[in-house]
Symmetry: C2
Subunit: 311 residues, 2 copies
Amino acid sequence: MSRIAVIGAGAVGAYYGARLAQAGHEVHFLMRRDYEAVRAHGLEVRSKDGDFRLDAPHVHQSSAEIGPVEWVVCALKATAIEEARALVEPCVDAGTRILILMNGLGLEDRFAAWFGAERIFGGLAFTCINRGEPGVIHHIDYGALAIGHVLDDPAEVATAVDLWQDAPVEVAPAPCLLEARWRKLCWNIPFNGLAVTAGGVTTDVIMHDPDLRAAAVRTMREVVAAGDADLVAHGSEVRLAPTIVEQMMATTDAMAVYRPSTMIDFVEGQPLEVEAIFGEPLRRAEVLGVPVPAIAMLTALMRALDPAGRT
Amino acid sequence: MSRIAVIGAGAVGAYYGARLAQAGHEVHFLMRRDYEAVRAHGLEVRSKDGDFRLDAPHVHQSSAEIGPVEWVVCALKATAIEEARALVEPCVDAGTRILILMNGLGLEDRFAAWFGAERIFGGLAFTCINRGEPGVIHHIDYGALAIGHVLDDPAEVATAVDLWQDAPVEVAPAPCLLEARWRKLCWNIPFNGLAVTAGGVTTDVIMHDPDLRAAAVRTMREVVAAGDADLVAHGSEVRLAPTIVEQMMATTDAMAVYRPSTMIDFVEGQPLEVEAIFGEPLRRAEVLGVPVPAIAMLTALMRALDPAGRT
């Protein structure tokens, strides 16, 4: 059993942290909004796979209180990337591994620069999770995790997957982390983007509106083109699956009515994860000369709509 | 001097109608929102070229009350196109000419089908005009009018331009009405579209934000490509000016802080002129096989953001 720190216990951090605790790990949650509620009443997960509750999880208001751990799961919002180093550092010693469970491209490279690449992993949550009232997480649909290593070291990937062995989460190794990141962007760019720019709508609205649906497909095809070009540029022989657009659309058709995280941030007036999800992929596409007019349009609009300005 | 009916006296109709009245024409305004205010206090134009007021203009609540005229100036919102025939008809007799002073593509064709093509003209207002409190029009910037004939009959165009001879409005003949319509769309599609989808912003915000500005240019280039293809398809030898994008951007840089009409509709929760400004140009581009991803994205978002649904 491992000692684990979950840094940033929003919906994703709290959910996967709770699953690790279910598996018997000693999980320490760094919490802001929900600290008091979870200390008083525990952490409740209302899941399509069955509800459960951690009655007395370890919750903390500072990372120093947690101290060094074997695994850090960093699930901060990408908008908090500049604070991430200071929040993670107190939990890191020589043997600590760090799993970045955040949206967007390029975040692992920041952590690699801060803490050394060999210990940095990226996690991709293909799931629908939202926060409810303080202390309550709604696990709405799906839930699989893909985990890769920033240097694509297969032994390290296996170690990371191993951590989840007894947790009721479907975990797949991502042999190429960059491919996995772009695969997730294939969904996040069109759906987080359109859910916000169409006025704050749920995914089903996009799927049932022929114009928005077509815009989602067009945007996703641009993400595929940009992702494949980025993989080539990084010397990878991996490519995004040729059927990925059809797969993603089918998955989203089958999805419960869902509010993408960025759409929730938008309607709540919170900073949007613009640069990690949109800005960095757009920058890479432009450098690589891949035409991405739909991504560029969405990025421009997301930046304009972001209450935090450029983040 | 001519007897003229202005059908739909929003900002554009009231402003240009007032200019025709200044020139000595007998101008009858069909008014809704401003009827009582204008009857009580007249029609006031606060213009960058000097304020003026019509103390007792002819205002009406029904077209039948106006009866047949020499010229109808139809300045309804494009969203009211289905009501336009009934509103215009009572003012039309054998000799009536009809000037369509509305935004968008394809509207003259509707009027031509209803009343016969030979009497139908299109007017393009390159101007910044907003409504103020009831009975007050703000003329903020520019003001030129281009007028064409739906059959591009030069003698008819000259007759239409002649109507404005004594009015303090710069009126230019549009030898090719289709080119003039696309020229106006070069501005309306990017700027009305981005002003709405970026959250309800003024034109200066678009011009000063490098991303939105780039999106405006990209979108405008698509409009130029679609417009030129549409001109070819209509057998016209006219093309949009090669420098039009640079011209439009320079004009907009020099423009006062401006709220495009669709942006005002958006923030006021009114129906948006989506189909005339976006939908019809997009349809033509798609039929002609012109790639217009930015226009398609804006159209999808505008339809989704339109409080009236598809209009």
